[in-house]
Point group: C2
């Protein structure tokens, strides 16, 4: 039993879809969230840069005495999970392994599609993790760099977004996949369009949901679940608080009270 908060971080606002699932799954847990809005996005940046940024953020979260860390960003999970987990002695969970495990359970024909940022695709992490789970799986990846800007523009139920989705998904639907992993935390926000384009024969997997369930298991196994606790939610960002708050209010099931700006560049050292 441990009422310390869980640290959650992302390149910006996308990780709030993971926070949303954690709040639903673990309503007694407190959360400290960091969104790196001054340097967003990570999806188009290199492994070295994303790893450096992730380490800075983990150092910050540790200073807030978190009991576990969730990397709520597929790109950072792909590039930096092992480096970060190696640095510290508390549990660290990324979004890729929970998503991959769920995809393996769901698929009937063993053919899995992954849509993600350029960085996540380039990293090869989804293939590697899926092949470790089951070497017979066939995995097909597609980078969808326009999805994040379309979500952030607010065109979540829009004909342009449908047309872009249609074009991106065409490239992997031809491989007869029956399972599609939403491999970027923004994508669940356009899941209706993605489902419509992919068709009813394809099951969507949302790693945010799977990660919240995995987190519950890890807390339980380590004996560090919160008990009889009134949860506190604290949000930190590296750029403007105002813009973050309005996006957060729109997707979280709770009031976004405390949001504070911190300068991540002074929190370095590697």
């Amino acid at each position: 039993m441990n009422n310390s908060p869980i640290g959650v971080f992302d390149s910006g606002v996308g990780g709030l879809t993971v926070v949303r699932e954690i709040i639903r799954e673990l309503p007694e847990e407190s959360i400290v969230y960091f969104g790196d809005t001054a340097r967003v996005p990570y999806g188009s940046k290199s492994r070295e840069t994303v790893t450096k940024y992730s380490r800075q953020i983990v150092r910050f979260l540790r200073s807030r005495e978190v009991k576990a860390i969730v990397i709520a960003c597929n790109t950072a999970s792909a590039y930096a999970l092992h480096e970060v987990a190696h640095d510290i002695d508390i549990p660290v969970i990324g979004v890729i392994e929970p998503g991959a495990k769920a995809a393996d359970k769901v698929t009937q024909n063993g053919r899995i599609g992954i849509i993600a940022t350029e960085g996540t695709v380039r990293s090869g992490t989804y293939e590697k993790v899926l092949k470790q789970i089951n070497p017979n799986l066939k995995v097909f990846l597609k980078a969808c760099p326009l999805f994040v800007p379309l979500v952030e523009e607010g065109w979540r139920y829009d004909s342009v977004t449908y047309e872009v989705a249609d074009r991106y998904l065409n490239d992997i639907m031809m491989y007869d996949i029956d399972t599609l992993v939403l491999g970027c935390t923004h994508y669940p926000l356009i899941r209706r369009i993605i489902q419509k384009v992919a068709g009813d024969g394809v099951t969507l997997v949302n790693p945010a949901y799977e990660t919240a369930k995995e987190l519950a298991g890890v807390l339980y196994d380590n004996g560090i679940m919160a008990e009889q606790s009134v949860p506190e939610y604290r949000f930190y960002v590296s750029d403007s608080v105002k813009k973050f708050s309005s996006f957060a209010e729109s997707i979280l099931p709770c009031d976004v009270g405390h949001v504070e700006r911190v300068n991540m560049e002074y929190n370095q050292g590697d």
Copy 2:
């Protein structure tokens, strides 16, 4: 006469459209370019963050002994030109004033449209500068946040880009503008689509071209033009060299020889 290089910077690769015009206009001048690819884009970030980043970059360029600085980014010009120019004793030129002056000359009916990033629109700098030039001008702004990702996806002659442009421009075409400023350095790369949507009655103004002409005047007035010089071009970026080089090769009229990565976060102090 002075054969020192000109310093040019941008949030990423967009400023290369300005470099291209400088090379055409001033073929004897050497250039040191910095693209902040680890923190790109600036267009959606706050004034404070963009100003801080701009100051770090100017400090870096000064260490390369540049004789003048061109802020080849509309957002950084909008937020940081005056702060940066105030800090140092060499000429500093942004892209907004040259673009605004050209728009004032071109317009017949005094109704000017500006398309730009969210940051540039929010800053109010284009209106302010245009009203200083001519208080009778009517100025209409529209943020077009999807244009940069569409250009970077390579969809420069694409039906999706046309549809997005049509939707964005509709909002300002209704004001009967006869002049449209391409207020983001990426936008000249989709100027054909923009011209087609805007129609023949609208003259496009490219601030990159106007800035190169302004730079020539400033160098001449200060007696610091290069003479009998074989120009050298050096490129620095804060993220992966490889990705930058291939984009640069595709839009510059010269070989992109020297590209080097620098860590901008250690180059701070404000």
